[in-house]
Amino acid sequence: MSWPAPDFDPVPVILACPAVAAALLAIIPSYRFSAWLNVFASLITLIAASSLFTLPQHAGDYVLIDNLNIVFIALNAFVGFTTSIFSASYIGHEIEIGRLTPAYLRFYHALYQVMMFGMNLALLANNIGLMWVAIELATLTTVVMVGIYRTHEAIEAAWKYFILGSVGIALALFGTILVYMAARPIVGEGLDGMIWTVLMQHVAHFDPSLLNVAFVFLLLGYGTKVGLAPLHAWLPDAHAEGPTPISAVLSGLLLNVALYAVLRFKLLLAANAHAIAPGPLMALLGLVSVIFAAFMLYRRRDIKRFFAYSSIEHMGVIAFAFGIGGLLANFAGLLHMTMHSLTKSGIFYSVGHVAQVKGTQKIADIRGLTETHPVLGWTLVFGVVAIAGLPPTGVFMSEILIVSSTFARAPLLALQLAFGLLIAFGALMWRLTGVAFGEPTGSRAPVKASYLPMFAHLALVFAAGVFLPPVLVAWFQMVARGLG
């Protein structure tokens, strides 16, 4: 990218843009205008984020830019942007049919930007305390947004999310304190003990037992946010009951951000020779999530909850890949994460429109979608086919890589993973068959959908399945190497 001047520092923009936008949006009452402002702010963030690639790595007291988080930030900004477009049309429709009133939505866009701010901050943070704060900020914002419909179910889901999230917060904090305690004898008191880059330099000398306990807490604490089974309970309901843009962002982004935190600490632990290997723990949780979510998919009746479980499954796959480690698996994990974010948010976009046009989220009441709404239906088919890991999509590529790279190292684990994937596949295709095909039911009214975000996401997923640009590959490989 050539247009940003070399001395331009996008980091403040990435952080400030959502923050300022949030403040502005909080005072703007007009729904329509704020929707556009939201899109605009997200676009600015996206532009700033994409200029990160030109920046050298650097680490300050609070902000860190390295190869790893650039990937996350870029993905974050992109999906944040597309979701803001989707959100504009989705929310517009909700207001039209009166399911949401502008009063409910008063702070919706502001919260959206706050959430983006939280996530960007978490990703940029070099300070593990700051990261913790940022993730909690993002979580609490989404809690409010999940409850925005103020139906009984929505509030209950938000409440569940809130309580489980709070416990997760507490656990993660304890883990953070423990890391600091482990670091204190070596790097001394004060800020240094919380700066990730400093920790990384000295971690080899930290007390391994303390690190072990810390990791357990961090894994469970942030793992709750990732939605790994058996810590997943908030996730399906939050996805199902919140507005769909939020489901998309939750699945596409927030889970990633939490995973990013886990990854950071995994790196930390891996650098200490005497601590337990963090990989197997992650792989274990990942595997449990895959198999558990795969079975859970079969009994789902709500389409958004269904895809939420699919998110659990995929987060499990990603955690598994990073847990297995090694260049290939890490590469595959990164790829899978990217692909999952794009695909799953794409699916949620189309599911959102589907639920709107059919007036229901019950799977049993949505049938023959390719007949009644061909474009929407086939987009959904493509999305599900992609998320199920069929070619020609990037998910296929990453799943193949994960399974095969695992297979070279731990054949039995790979078999179990494949088992989980197959079970999940069966559920996905079963539900897809019911929703997209069969004798159509429900409304045939044309849908005013914003196809652009869906198409953009799915096109990217498709393109990645066929051809990964060498630049991207090189970048991912660099990151994967760093992930050990």
Partner: protein
């Protein structure tokens, strides 16, 4: 750090664990709230001692929060709530008080086992402190898990959080301790408000008594 200060810190942290056990032992809501106030007081004392020992005046903010909010406002608010919403005064437990006490013992032993593996080279204060903090956290979780009333679950969460504050305060020179304790206080306040707002009488799980019979989410 010399012997006496170490002993006092140790004593206070141990006292916090003991009060956690007392929380576990209660089967009346009012008594539980009273004991929780005591918990907060002990925490305040412990943090104050740390502030004094570490010469970290900002920790007094935390002490103040603990005393005012946790030992004062919140228990009183919960008292009111229990009275006004007509919540059962008795605490429904899972598995009985005795069993949970035993489990609590096990948890304390576990936290000792886990923490004492930390090499002796590490700061002994931190090590002991952390063991107690971990015990408090685990006991708090145990309360949340074995008590069915919303109020006692809140109490469990708050005692868990007290354990966190204890650990954070014990970590010499840790930045953001105060901020964290404030953030947590806000969190707890939100939970309490949520309980009020959603009229959660009995449990966390149902936010509205009228909704008890309605299907939730999936159940058809």
């Amino acid at each position: 750090m010399h012997g006496a200060s170490f002993d006092i810190a140790h004593l206070l942290a141990g006292a916090l664990v003991l009060v956690s056990f007392m929380l576990l032992y209660q089967d009346r809501l009012y008594a539980l709230l009273n004991v929780f106030a005591l918990h907060a007081v002990v925490l305040a004392a412990s943090v104050a001692w740390q502030a004094y020992v570490q010469d970290a005046p900002h920790l007094y903010v935390t002490v103040a929060i603990a005393l005012v909010l946790k030992a004062g406002i919140i228990p009183i608010a919960l008292h009111n709530m229990v009275r006004r919403m007509g919540i059962h005064r008795e605490i429904e437990t899972v598995g009985g008080i005795g069993a949970t006490m035993l489990a609590g013992m096990g948890l304390v032993a576990l936290s000792m086992m886990v923490m004492l593996r930390v090499t002796a080279g590490a700061d002994p204060l931190a090590r002991e402190d952390l063991a107690f903090a971990l015990a408090v956290i685990l006991l708090g979780l145990l309360i949340m898990v074995t008590r069915r009333n919303a109020v006692s679950q809140i109490v469990g969460f708050m005692s868990l959080e007290n354990g966190l504050i204890l650990a954070a305060a014990g970590a010499n020179g840790m930045p953001l301790v105060v901020e964290i304790s404030i953030a947590f206080s806000v969190l707890i306040a939100l939970i309490v408000i949520g309980v009020f707002l959603f009229r959660i009488r009995e449990r966390f799980d149902t936010v509205d008594v009228h909704a008890l019979d309605r299907f939730r989410g999936e159940r058809l």
